[in-house]
């Protein structure tokens, strides 16, 4: 449990011998340079970047896996991959894209943006935040280490028992323990972001003024909070079966293998919304900015997101329509599956209405956002056809399903995330990505995506099952499979374009200022990239789309008119104005913030003393213990497992005793009293 977040001054000598406790390793400070600075950071922005970059590397790996699968299926009776290799690759493709790509990309964006969008300086528990990242990285590397240690997981991303109980070797063990580790990462992230949004909003940032991306991320984090424990239990039971021969999924002992499916999908369906809601949030941020209109029906967007979150818990059995649940249960889940389309449909109409009568420009983020709306609609419609259960018994476990969820997760989530990447890149890096390459990226991806996954609809309806490593001639599947394989390489080309764009942009010199898009929300009021403390002073929020209202007012026809001078909030030093100590000592100031900022500490350069939590080694060290424990468990090398356990326990214990802010980081001018307060 990370504790209080009081704080460290900005410009202070890193070493303060005073009262320094004896430690094995010296605590890093905010000035620790280079790689150690990153490894010990608790800055939500750095962590957000690490999440995103790591997830993007996993995206490349998962994409290469996809290409291998498509080469194998490019024609009938191919021998490019052997059966078991194919099974490993498709298992890892699914597991990677869900747990190591889309979830952490969303987590990375949320980490970076949520605090800034609600006007906070950091997340609620900065060290827990770092732990989440390191655990995610440890889990991903642990799972991928299986490729070098006897073979990757080969039981599918859904891991149905009794197959996964029976499969020999350690392949499935890596999957089970890897997912457990990743679950810890997601859970800590969920607790952290939920508390951040609930508790750390700037004054005036009421719930119904929060940017929609914050809302959708909040709903997704609540889903994670409640969904992760369910799969934790399922994986726990499976690992006990595999390691200690318990009977949870032993049919011979009277178990019902459908228990696994219920637990897995009770997690797995909310998981789908965990993957798509943040992307919906991104699109809801991007469309208004480039339409120069507010989001149409903000309240409805919020409530439909919440409704999706709730209803997402009542549809899990639609993954099990063919398992023999009986007509009553099946009918109930059929109905719930169809009606979850209602809040989703509402969102689509509201997005279109946001465009309607706007003044649309089409830079790359807007293209991806519109692509999202167009492609997600297709995924939504095919989703409704799955609700028609008798038809679903023809569709399920065929490529029609594969088409459906790629339209949702690629055409939806990934398009949304790319929209977000292009939209917020200038905030992260202080530079705009190249527009020409961005547009090439979009169109290649749009065409490649439809070429790859569009034909899957046909293949599925023509009876091609999923998860087959080969198929014979004469089924009528040859042509569309070839088209799809070609399409997958077009997607690969588009991703290459994106990589080139990022690399090229790194070399350019640009100054995009705070607000390159003429945007609407708080993150665009601070420099790009933001300083460590985000806001020199915590902003006072007076309306939804706060920044827009500072820049624009409405005329009699309801059209926006730029204010002569951007409205300066006393609490919010304008982007161009250097904050001066005196400016904040007026009466306005006192009423805005209850004295929890203190401009009196500004030094000569007018840089405010804002005390941020200190970096720490413990999150990294705690995370390192998890793979050690897991290797020990998998290979039943109890000494290693115990070492891992002690390692984790020791790290957490040291962490708990470490104050959130290193004593030597506390302000020197703060007198001995403040130091003692922390030491006491």
């Amino acid at each position: 449990m990370a504790i209080v977040t009081p704080p460290r001054p900005e410009a202070l000598a890193p070493e303060q011998p005073l009262n320094k406790p004896v430690r094995f390793i010296r605590r890093p400070t905010g000035y620790t340079p280079g790689i150690w600075g990153w490894m010990t950071t608790v800055d939500h922005k750095k962590i957000g970047i690490m999440y995103s970059v790591t997830a993007f590397f996993f995206f490349l790996i998962g994409g290469i896996e996809a290409l291998l699968l498509r080469i194998q299926l490019g024609g009938p009776d191919q021998t490019f991959l052997r059966a078991d290799t194919y099974n490993q690759v498709f298992t890892m493709h699914g597991t990677t894209m869900i747990f190591l790509v889309i979830m952490p990309l969303s987590a990375g964006l949320a980490n970076y943006l949520l605090p800034i969008m609600i006007g906070a300086r950091d997340v609620a528990f900065p060290r827990l935040n770092a732990l989440g990242y390191w655990v995610f990285l440890a889990g991903g590397l642990f799972m991928y280490s299986s490729f070098f240690l006897g073979g990757a997981p080969n039981g599918g991303w859904f891991g149905y028992v009794p197959l996964t109980r029976n499969l020999p070797g350690h392949n499935v063990d890596y999957w089970v323990f890897g997912l457990q580790i990743l679950g810890i990462a997601s859970l800590t992230g969920a607790v952290n972001l939920i508390v951040t949004v609930i508790n750390m909003r700037a004054p005036g940032m009421s719930l119904m003024r929060m940017p929609i991306f914050v809302w959708m991320s909040l709903v997704a984090q609540f889903l994670l909070l409640f969904a992760i424990p369910v799969i934790t239990v399922a994986l726990f039971l499976l690992s006990f079966d595999r390691l200690f021969s318990t009977n949870f999924f032993n049919v011979a002992a009277g178990s019902d293998p459908l228990l696994w499916q219920h637990l897995f999908w009770l997690f797995g369906h909310p998981e789908v919304y965990i993957l798509i809601l943040p992307a919906m949030g991104i699109v809801s941020e991007v469309l208004p900015v480039f339409s120069r209109k507010p989001l149409f029906g903000y309240q409805v967007m919020v409530f439909s997101g919440i409704a999706i979150g709730f209803m997402g818990w009542g549809v899990w059995a639609h993954h099990m329509f063919a398992t023999g649940l009986g007509p009553v249960a099946v009918s109930a889940f059929s109905a719930s599956t169809m009606f979850i389309a209602v809040p989703t449909g509402v969102k689509i109409f509201n997005w279109i209405s946001t465009l309607w009568k706007g003044k649309l420009t089409f830079p790359t983020p807007m293209l991806f956002a519109i692509g999202f709306v167009a492609m997600f609609t297709i995924g939504g419609l095919s989703g409704v056809t799955h609700g028609v259960v008798p038809a679903d018994t023809q569709q399920t476990d065929t490529y029609y399903i594969v088409a459906h969820f790629h339209y949702v997760l690629f055409g939806g989530s990934m398009f949304g995330l790319f929209a977000g990447a292009y939209y917020w890149y200038p905030k992260f890096a202080g530079k705009l990505l190249n527009e020409r390459l961005g547009k090439i990226h979009f169109w290649l991806m749009f065409i490649g995506f439809n070429m790859t996954f569009g034909p899957f609809h046909i293949l599925g309806l023509q009876g091609m099952p999923r998860r087959i490593y080969t198929y014979p001639e004469g089924r009528g599947w040859d042509v569309w499979n070839l088209v799809s394989t070609i399409g997958s390489f077009v997607i690969a080309l588009s991703i290459l374009t994106f990589c080139i764009n990022v690399l090229k942009t790194r070399k350019t010199q640009q100054d995009v200022g705070e607000d390159p898009w003429d945007a609407r929300t708080l993150e665009w009021t601070i420099p790009s990239p933001p300083p460590e403390y985000n806001f020199k002073e915590i902003p006072l929020v007076t309306s939804r789309d706060e920044l827009w209202h500072r820049k624009y007012t409405e005329d009699d026809d309801g059209r926006s008119v730029r204010r002569a001078v951007t409205l300066e909030q006393p609490e919010m030093p304008g982007t161009e104005v250097e904050p001066s100590t005196d400016a904040h000592d007026g009466p306005d100031h006192a009423e805005g913030d209850d004295g929890h900022t203190d401009p009196a500490h500004d030094d000569e350069e007018h840089e405010p003393h804002i005390h941020m939590p200190s970096p720490s080694y413990w999150p990294l060290l705690t995370a390192l213990g998890l793979p050690i424990l897991s290797y020990g468990m998998i290979y039943k090398t109890w000494a290693v497992a115990i070492l891992g356990g002690v390692w984790i326990f020791g790290s957490i214990y040291s962490w708990a005793l470490e104050p959130a802010t290193a004593p030597e980081d506390l302000p020197d001018h703060g007198s001995d009293e403040s130091l003692e307060a922390v030491h006491a």
Binding site: A83, D84, N87, G155, G156, Y160, L163, N166, D256, P257, L258, S291, K293, P294, F296, A322, G324, G326, P327, S334, M338, V342, V346, I348, N350, I352, S353, L355, G358, K359, L360, T361, A374, L381, S382, V384, G387, V388, P390, A391, T393, T398, W443, N450, G454, P455, I458, L461, Q462, G463, P465, R466, R467, I468, Y469, Y471, R475, G476, R559, S560
Partner: protein, 334 residues
């Protein structure tokens, strides 16, 4: 013009969707060949049409907005519209009503299809990694990989698994049902015309999931009765002095009977019953047509022919002349 290309992409995907109805795909789900599959088809076709209309409407609106409201040099700043309660209630209710219209016939069909058919042929289907066993308990027949059924009479399948979860599916005749160990799921199929209908296992079941295919052979009732009579009889013993007799001897020596039943000869339960192997059109999970050349490929190295299957040859690989003799024997199992 970029906008036009987008239009082209959309109409192309719509065209693809329609194209799915055509083509010569034996496992096509949209080409029903029996009443069960037809009932499903009749249910889904209007849903596809409604979905198509919504698709055109939504994508049309997106396109229209993109074309009509793109910024032009003289465009004024847009009116700041925050929402419209009436409209929003409208597009909440409209999809709800459409979905209600879809849900009612769906649920009716679910219950209709769950009814047990009358006068059905009962067959127990047992899923194995990676082949199907069919037990006609009432008729005293056991066979593998090919479901024989009379035309015009429903077949009630009771599904069970010997190992992991499989899923039984013959798309032209009906939807799939999972084959779950420890549960007895049921489903029924019916064919209208004699012929062969292809399908396959659709629940991932291990290394050779792709090689676990299924086949239903619908026959005129008289032919079906004749087939049953033939299956009930024991296979004739090979004539003395033939190569087939040497093969029979090898079958015993090599221990094939440990896994395979040949009625009157052996009682193995692990592999498929081979009593009437020669009457089947396919073998090994229906991935091979039943001919001498394929049998030779199979017996030379079963693991290469079908990765991960459970067939082992005790005492190592067979010599070519042993294979020839065994095939001669297997060919007599009519």
């Amino acid at each position: 013009m970029r906008r036009n290309r987008r239009l082209a992409a959309f109409s192309a995907s719509l065209f693809l969707f329609l194209a799915a109805c055509a083509g010569n795909a034996p496992q096509d789900t949209l080409e029903p060949k029996g009443p069960v599959a037809r009932q499903i088809d009749h249910l889904i076709n209007p849903v596809f049409i409604v979905a198509g209309v919504v698709f055109v409407l939504v994508e049309g609106l997106v396109l229209l907005a993109v074309i009509k409201f793109r910024a032009r040099p003289d465009s004024p700043e847009p009116e700041q519209i925050h929402g419209n309660t009436r409209l929003e209630v409208g597009w909440t209710l409209a999809p709800a009503l459409i979905l209600l219209a879809v849900a009612v016939p769906t649920i009716a069909t679910i219950f209709d299809l769950s009814k047990k058919p009358e006068n059905a042929v009962n067959v127990t289907v047992i899923g194995h990694q990676f082949w199907w066993e069919y037990r006609y308990e009432d008729l005293g027949v056991v066979t593998a990989n090919e479901l024989r059924m009379p035309v015009g009479r429903p077949v009630e399948l009771t599904l069970n698994s010997d190992d992991v979860i499989h899923s039984y599916w013959i798309p032209p005749l009906g939807g799939k049902t999972d084959v779950v160990p420890g549960r007895n799921n049921t489903m029924h199929l019916e064919a209208e015309t004699p012929g062969e209908y292809l399908g396959q296992c659709t629940e991932f079941c291990g290394a050779s999931h792709a090689n676990m295919r299924a086949k239903a052979i619908a026959m005129a009732p008289a032919d079906f009765d004749a087939w049953v009579a033939g299956q009930k009889a024991a296979a004739p013993a090979p004539a003395a002095g033939t190569m087939a007799e040497e093969g029979a001897l090898l079958f015993a020596q090599k221990g094939c009977g440990g896994c395979h039943t040949v009625q009157g000869v052996s009682e193995g339960k692990i592999g498929p019953n081979l009593t009437h192997l020669a009457t089947r059109t396919t073998f090994a999970g229906s991935i091979f047509n039943n001919n001498d050349q394929n049998l030779r490929t199979w017996l030379r190295d079963p693991q290469a022919a079908k990765p991960g299957n459970k067939m082992i040859i005790p005492g190592g690989p067979l010599a070519p002349d042993e294979i020839t003799k065994l095939i001669a024997y297997l060919d007599t199992l009519r």
